[in-house]
Amino acid sequence: MRDIDVSVITDEIEKMCMHANRHLPKDMQEGIKACRACEDGPIACTILDQIIDNFQTADKEEVPICQDTGMACIFLEVGQEVHFTGGALYDAINEGVRRGYTKGYLRKSVEADPIRRGNTGDNTPAMITVDIVPGDKVKITVAPKGFGSENMSALRMFKPSAGLQGIKDFILETVENAGPNPCPPIVVGVGIGGNFDHVALAAKKALLRPVDSHNPDPFYAALEDEMLEKINELGIGPQGLGGKTTAIGVNIETLPTHIAGMPCAVNISCHVTRHETEVI
């Protein structure tokens, strides 16, 4: 067993919350620049120039890229040889979020109750996902997620008869309905299979992958490319004002599923798709 004091997790998450909100990952920076290179419309080019200027300014001046610094989505892959000491793991994660969002002057966007509302004042609780894996390491991913794009996401419980075409149509329909709202160019995370809850998580995890990566299964890698092309034919464009680049990338994650079903979740993310990972 390897003992890890949970204060190490707190410290790491504090730093990562601040860093992730100020520095757009390299894959996203390159993806947006590639969009700019292929656009030729004056409106689309002007918007992409400003989007690039914005993330470069945030990077240089150490300020949040976007005012929606999101709900803190925290993913932990915990090696089964790890023994946490010094307190409760979830408390330690939330303390890291609390400190990072307070010290980093990040927006506190979390409401304590979905109906009765009331801001918690420190952006906790985080949205925490823990997976147990072999080994004695802890892999931490921090992915602040804004709600302009989260609100445009969708989940549907397809029957197997809907087939591949049903999935393709649903992805396009979700992006079409989203239009300008999720701050395009967007990243589209797709989960297919599993059940009601796991398909949504698969879509979210798809967004953690670099935007220029592909599903290791050639069938789904080809589907990612095909859907990216189809989405970009919609013409929604940067900020929804028309153009070639509605999406920067499409990432698909799949799960085995039930004989009676074919769930599909589409998690839309904006041009400020933030994720960073550290291994302890």
Binding site: Y105, K108, R117
Partner: protein, 192 residues
């Protein structure tokens, strides 16, 4: 569509709004007010009880934004627009009271477009997700109401050359429809 930038001095009178056309890129200078979902809900609930708005709505412009907190020595944190459609429920009433200018991002409902036409208003789009850049155009920030709402409190901002695009003008034109249609028309012509 106009390429050059036009400087606009707020407040947004009906006469001024009538000179703005869909697709115009304009730079706004003057006083604006921040309000999001929770502030709109409270303002309209208060109006029913006879409590006036925390600012004078006459020719006012509302910016749909919840900024990040200001670091020491700074006016404001990052401050880009939020999705305007969430305010559609309350926007026609606000416009009818005189707050004819709106800054946000994303689609608006038919009833908002109708109100913009009826009261000669304007819906401006700012670049969503460009909060670090847009904050540079905010020169003053003062919290004026609903402090308990945190990022959703109402703030009076003074902006200089704040860059926006006219999305919906007082003739009811909508750039989200026209901009995309124009792109697709050109794109399809090239393909043929």
């Amino acid at each position: 569509m106009a390429e050059e930038l036009r400087r606009i001095q707020l407040p947004l009178t009906p006469e001024l709004a009538k000179t703005l056309h869909m697709g115009d890129n304009v730079l706004l200078t003057g006083t604006i007010y921040t309000a999001r979902d929770a502030a709109h809900e409270r303002m309209t609930e208060n109006l029913k009880k006879g409590i006036p708005l925390p600012f004078d709505p006459k020719d006012a412009t509302i910016y749909y934004v919840g900024p990040t907190p200001a670091e020491p020595g700074k006016v404001i944190g990052s401050a880009g627009p939020t999705t305007a459609g969430r305010m559609d429920k309350w926007a026609p009433e606000m416009i009818s009271l005189g707050a004819r200018g709106m800054i946000g991002k994303g689609k608006r409902s038919a009833s908002v477009i109708e109100a913009v036409k009826k009261y000669s208003g304007c819906y401006f789009g700012a670049i969503g997700g460009a909060g670090a850049l847009l904050a540079k155009h905010i020169k003053k920030c003062r919290l004026i109401a609903y402090e308990d709402l945190g990022p959703e409190a109402i703030r009076e901002l003074y902006v200089e050359d704040f860059p926006v695009t006219v999305i919906i003008d007082c003739e009811g034109n909508d750039l989200y429809k026209s901009g995309r249609a124009e792109y697709l028309k050109l794109h399809n012509e090239k393909k043929q």
